[in-house]
């Protein structure tokens, strides 16, 4: 390559800066055909429809979130009620056992047992 060449031979990027001089007639013909095709295609879906589509997903999403976080949700309703139920069962069992011994106690003792003062007397 002589000095009149516009391309410095030792720099590949200089070569890259200059690409194709022009398009081909075939390419332009295909572009014209594509333009014609685009006129027959439905218009690109605008943003509002897309936004409405997502907006329609909001209520089901909120419902799903509520189900997951509510006290009735399967994950949350198992632990605390199970503990309460066990304590209540113990209480019933204790009551049944003590009830059998009730007739053995005298009247005053029964009254003392059933009427427990809210403020226990000082034992000291």
């Amino acid at each position: 390559m002589n000095d009149s060449s516009p391309t410095p031979p030792d720099d590949p990027e200089a070569f890259l800066r200059n690409g194709l001089r022009d398009t081909t007639p075939e390419f332009e013909r295909r572009w014209t055909a594509l333009k014609r095709q685009l006129r027959t295609e439905p218009a690109p879906r605008p943003a509002p429809l897309r936004r409405w589509w997502w907006a329609m997903l909001v209520p089901p999403g909120l419902a799903a979130t509520w189900l997951l976080l509510s006290p009735l949700a399967p994950g949350t309703r198992s632990a605390a009620p199970a503990a309460d139920l066990a304590a209540f069962t113990d209480l019933l069992t204790l009551d049944a056992e003590l009830r059998a011994a009730l007739p053995l106690a005298d009247r005053e003792a029964v009254d003392d047992l059933l009427v427990i003062p809210a403020e226990p007397a000082d034992q000291s």
């Binding site: 060449s5 391309t7 890259l16 398009t23 075939e26 572009w31 333009k35």
Partner: protein, 212 residues
């Protein structure tokens, strides 16, 4: 599709279609939007003819990008047309916060990656030297032969780069995009782009000099 310009309250129009309707609050200088943005808004509003100015402005940068990335003018023309088709279909989803050039080449690179996955490696098919802007129109036969050799070696060297390095180098050399836009199009950070370019240049110099 045309959206009634004044029938809806301003807040509702902003929420519905900030990319289709020109919002006065978010973009105070609507006239300062560049021509590419304006074309996209027209396309999104249902005007396919608005694609023509974008085609005229970007066809050669796209063709060069694809041609050098694939080493085939025929494939480059296919992908360039596909890219314009995608631009048309995605115009309504374009967000003005992104520069059009970065958005365009993001789409172009996606097309390129799809093509690279789809096809098997093919030998490069350089264009005749007369088709290259590097060659003076009154070049001698010797200059033409030399330009053809260089182009073939260049394409062969480019094919040996990893795709990301090759795309970074091509987009940088084309000079149409800023480094930030190139980083956006490639999905990398600005710092990472610097590293990618450095490696690409090193490899190219080695490969290119070994060809000469």
């Amino acid at each position: 599709m045309t959206i009634g310009p004044v029938a809806l309250p301003a807040w509702l129009r902003l929420w519905l279609a900030p990319s289709v309707i020109t919002p006065s609050r978010e973009q105070p200088a609507a006239t300062a939007l560049d021509a590419d943005h304006a074309c996209l808004r027209r396309i999104a509003a249902g005007d396919p003819d608005a694609l023509q100015p974008l085609f005229d402005r970007w066809k050669l940068p796209l063709l060069n990008f694809f041609y050098r990335a694939l080493g085939s003018r025929a494939d480059a023309e296919d992908l360039a047309l596909q890219t314009f088709h995608r631009v048309y279909r995605a115009a309504a989803r374009y967000r003005p916060e992104t520069k059009f050039s970065a958005w365009l080449f993001t789409i172009a690179r996606r097309e390129l990656l799809h093509e690279l996955r789809r096809r098997r490696r093919k030998p490069v098919e350089p264009v005749p030297p007369e088709d290259l802007a590097t060659l003076a129109t009154d070049a001698s036969p010797d200059e033409r032969r030399r330009a053809a050799e260089l182009e073939e070696h260049l394409l062969a060297a480019l094919q040996q780069l990893p795709e990301r390095q090759r795309s970074a180098l091509l987009l940088t050399a084309a000079g149409e995009l800023s480094p930030a836009e190139i980083a956006t199009a490639l999905g990398v950070s600005a710092g990472n782009l610097h590293v990618i370019l450095h490696r690409a240049r090193q490899t190219m110099r080695t490969l290119f000099s070994s060809h000469r």
